[in-house]
Symmetry: C2
Subunit: 191 residues, 2 copies
DNA sequence: GTCTATACGGTGATAGAC
DNA sequence: GTCTATCACCGTATAGAC
């Protein structure tokens, strides 16, 4: 008598897929990997998610919605502190999980992605760009953020820049570089 | 009577591997893809490069050396213009080839990369960070670049940020976003 | 140097029993 | 819902003829 709409197994599959994709990308994880983690056989996953693309879309959608909620719940004493807190979400993901942002990982795989998954990637960055640009505009109203910045332009640079810093710092085994990049971004945005 | 050390076929294979990897990553291209482009069979590639890892290492090394040469040959009237010219190399690659920087692509695949290839990725970013940091320090001496910036920190943010912007802008089919990000970087670095 | 043939493992996906 | 069994690929890599 489950009350939740998605069963425990479906949620476990989603979670496992998310972690694996954040580590190894869309082409770097398999149904068999997920099955082994969840404790079922790979054929059983198709019952919950018909295709790999379906699983990836569901995972990405869930990830985006969760991140949007978390971002909207962030509180800080100023716009730049809010941006810093947002960036710290990325820092924490890399430090605690050793994984990248799912949006960034899928962006890297974009050229080999099923169309439906790529559509989700577009929605992901749309949502993040909007959130950051909104914070920036408010900070400009209070005079805290440089007025000569184009909020939309900086938002794109900031989000995609964090993705790149995350990716590269992990690749060269210098995870602290991500934090350095974040701090530099914050330094530059202040009026 | 070839005078070059690497034969025409070896060079053609290297070139094809480079283009394919810049588009689809290490796991996204196969010996069969390269073979089809070069006009031989996939088994023949092993004669020139014993394993896929060997081919990738050779490709990455060649890419790094070439990029270092190109960067060192860049001329500009100021440090920020030099950084802009450097960034325009990335813009041109995305616009003309539709491909990413090989360093960035391999960074994204880092977790599934053979060790020797990953070592090359580290060398790649070492070299790029050094080049950019050097330009920045010179610009700070002339007073053109913000003196309160840490050259090494900005170099890391700039290079890895460009990689991310390149990756994301391609993924969301907004290639012009890369140029926007580059211009914002340049704007922020000026004193 | 390049070929054909092949070994061998991994992949997503399906059919049908339970 | 999950299983076993199986399929039709595709991947790297090797052996040996030419």
């Amino acid at each position: 008598m489950s009350v939740t709409q998605t069963g425990d197994k479906a949620a476990a599959i989603l979670n496992s897929a998310r972690v694996l994709m954040m580590e190894r990308g869309y082409n770097g994880f398999s149904f068999r990997d997920v099955a082994a983690e969840v404790g079922i056989k790979s054929a059983s996953i198709h019952y919950h998610y018909a295709t790999k693309a379906d699983l990836a879309v569901a995972t990405a959608k869930d990830y985006r919605e969760t991140l949007c909620e978390v971002a909207n719940d962030l509180t800080a004493s100023s716009a730049s502190m809010l941006l810093s807190a947002y960036g710290t979400l990325f820092v924490a993901t890399l430090r605690d999980q050793g994984g990248l942002c799912l949006g960034g990982v899928l962006a890297a795989d974009a050229e080999t992605l099923p169309e439906q998954v790529r559509t989700e990637v577009i929605e992901f960055f749309d949502s993040q760009y909007k959130w950051v640009a909104n914070v920036l505009r408010k900070g400009q109203e209070t005079g805290e953020i440089r007025a000569d910045l184009d909020a939309e332009a900086f938002a794109k640079m900031f989000v995609s820049g964090l993705e790149g810093a995350m990716m590269v710092s992990r690749a060269i085994s210098q995870p602290d570089d991500l934090e350095v990049a974040l701090e530099t971004f914050i330094q530059l945005v202040r009026a």
